[in-house]
Amino acid sequence: MKHFVTFWLVIAIVTAAALTVYGGTSTDNEASDSVVVGISQDIDSLDPHNADYAGTREVLFNLFEGLVKATSDGNIEPAVAQSYEVAEDASSISFTIREGITFHDGTPVTAEDIQYSLERYAQIQGSESAFADFKELEIAEDGTVTVILNEPNTEFIYELTCAILPKANEENINSAPIGTGPFKFVSFKPGESLVVEKYENYWKEGFPYLDQVTFKVETDVDAAINQLNAGTLDIYQYLTADQAATLNDHFNILEGSVNYVQGMFLNNAVKPFDDVRVRQAVYYAVDRDLINEFLFAGKSHIIGTNMIPAAEFYYNADTETTYTHDPQKAKELLAEAGYPDGFEFTITVPNNYAPHEGTAQIIAESLAEVGIKANINLVEFNTWYSDAYVDRNYEATVVAVDGKLAPNSWFAKNISTAPNNFTNYSNPEFDEVYEKALAEIDLDQKAVYYKQLQQILADDAASIYVQDPANLVAVNADLEGYVFYPISAQDMSVVKFID
């Protein structure tokens, strides 16, 4: 009896002591300007040439730069190069290396590093990629370098945003990467976080403002919202209107655009989606405004083709109204195609972005009105990537595709022979116009071709393009300067604390 009581007494004291210790420790070490950015996707590689995920490119934008880099308005500016000049026939581009530019370890950037980087990138990208036009790099006596192309390409300059890496760091590229960007690598915990700090000798005077940035992987949005409310995270992207509404008033909600084409992509090679009438019927049956209203409180941009509105000069706005919500017309088209009573199919949905699931549910509900039964199969992103994207083993999938600065990047996936033509779309006319657009040097004529491509995709109802989703970003109210990019990038070098 006695022992028993003593035992519990000891336990009680220890517990009380532990709780006291716990109550007393509240460590606040936010003396310097540091910010924690929550990221919704795991980082797949620290090697910028091997990074596939859009989420990884967003982060690595802060560490690496190419000869040129993207600006927030969708143009490019010189980075590692001080200036550049595209040859008149668009078959070569020459660069002057920026004076005094150094890597994070303090060594100067040499022409050999550039040669190494471009060749490495070309080899990794492979002969089917947009980088395949790269032939070689010529190094002149005076230090200028010239990129020689296999054939004329006016859009190749956009490809040269690919990272310039020091040849000497080949060994450590995955553990301690070095670049020329505004921030330099500090530490990386796989699946947890990437910490970077200010690079003091960054070529752009006065940037970056912040001393340290931690990119914390938080794939679960609910957990991320809790952490925003608790003050653990300062910035988090890709919120829906409902999610943003649950945040406390210490955040500004910035409204931008995700700059993805989100929609229900159809496998054009499987029945019944091999029939254009069926695809059109589905398009008429889907209520895109309802999706926008439910998920983004109407803040998304409704689209009708595989292009983002941000690419103003090349964007064909007419495609937005090619289809309207018209269940009656859908039924007629279905009857015409031989499916008067509808049919049943499965929508494969990756779970990496919550609005995809919502979109699929709303689409399924509107298709039920015209007699089509859509089942939903929610899968892990990686499963989706290998089954749907690589193996093309699916009927329909709600997903978003991104592009790069080069306008052709939005259409390359729809070329009938493209290795990543995961919708199995095939239209000789489309292929033909695409070739013309790529070869065209006159920009106005180029825009005409690209708009034509968009109209073809819309008329064919190649897929059910729904929206360029609103990107609601929660930013700590103490911060300012956050900007949106039309590509996958979160530029932390321009963010600063309000004085």
Binding site: D242, Q243, T246, G358, Q361, I362, A364, I376, L378, V379
Partner: protein, 265 residues
């Protein structure tokens, strides 16, 4: 002798009966469509028209809870029945024959037991893919060891008893002894653990749903609803509370039955 009513059993049966009745009703009729969406009803709080309120797509939560009970019942009951039948048969035979057969079966049992249930379910689902049938299969396999163990010990207990010995002496076949003489006497022990298994299945299904590997939308399961509702706890607490309380009551009912059955012998 004092008349001692088996209140646990009665209350348990009533609760479970109501739940089952709701689930069965949902097969034919729900107050509203379980998938029908409405912008105007988004996050509508509980009212006379929608006693449980509406969710983020304006769907009636009561209707979805009714459907969800059915899904949860289906998953849990199929899982337990699968595990119980396979496990009992294995356990009975292992206990009856003994020897190396028993040894091998029980070692495999130990190995299966060593994997925490959700871990094994995760592994199975990662191979088979999610979906109703796969979840039932994955969880069902998980329950085999516990039933095998109980069936085996029941068999060992009963094997030595008089009536089994005499059946053996009268040259009754093995199967006849197991199914005609032992099973009827072992069922109470097995049923009690079936109830525990049922509750474990409910919780495991909810856990899988939370990890995104459970029942597929737009089908409702109670676990999935709580998971989805987690995001809107501040805006629409009723979205989480009603499915949550339903799960708790469901588990309570079955647990009370299990208590009651235990008290019967």
């Amino acid at each position: 002798m004092k008349k001692n009513r088996n209140y646990s059993l009665i209350i348990g049966l009533v609760i479970t009966g109501i739940m089952l009745a709701l689930a069965l009703t949902a097969l034919f009729w729900t107050p509203y469509s379980t998938t029908g969406m409405s912008l105007t009803l988004k996050f509508a709080p509980p009212s006379w028209a929608h006693p449980f309120g509406c969710d983020n797509y304006g769907r009636d939560i009561l209707s979805r809870v009714m459907q969800g009970i059915g899904t949860t019942f289906l998953v849990s009951a199929s899982t337990v029945i699968f595990g119980m039948i396979v496990g009992s048969v294995i356990g009975f035979f292992a206990g009856y024959f003994g020897g190396w057969f028993d040894e091998v079966i029980m070692r495999i049992n130990d190995v299966l037991n060593a994997f925490p249930s959700i871990l094994l379910a995760l592994v199975f689902v990662s191979f088979l893919g999610s979906g109703l049938m796969n979840i039932i299969l994955a969880l069902g396999i998980l329950f085999i060891p516990s039933f095998a163990r109980i069936a085996r010990s029941e068999m060992l207990r009963l094997k030595g008893l008089q009536f089994v010995q005499s059946a053996r002496l009268s040259k009754a076949g093995t199967c006849r002894i197991i199914f005609a003489h032992i099973m009827p006497n072992a069922y109470i022990g097995i049923l009690a653990s079936a109830a525990v298994g049922f509750n474990n299945a409910v919780i495991a299904e909810a856990g899988l749903s939370f990890l995104g590997l459970g029942v597929q939308p737009p089908n409702a399961s109670l676990g999935r609803m709580i998971d989805e509702a987690g995001s809107f706890l501040m805006q629409a607490p009723w979205y989480a509370i009603f499915p949550g309380v339903t799960i708790i009551i469901l588990v309570l009912g079955v647990a009370l039955i299990s208590d009651g059955v235990n008290r019967m012998d």
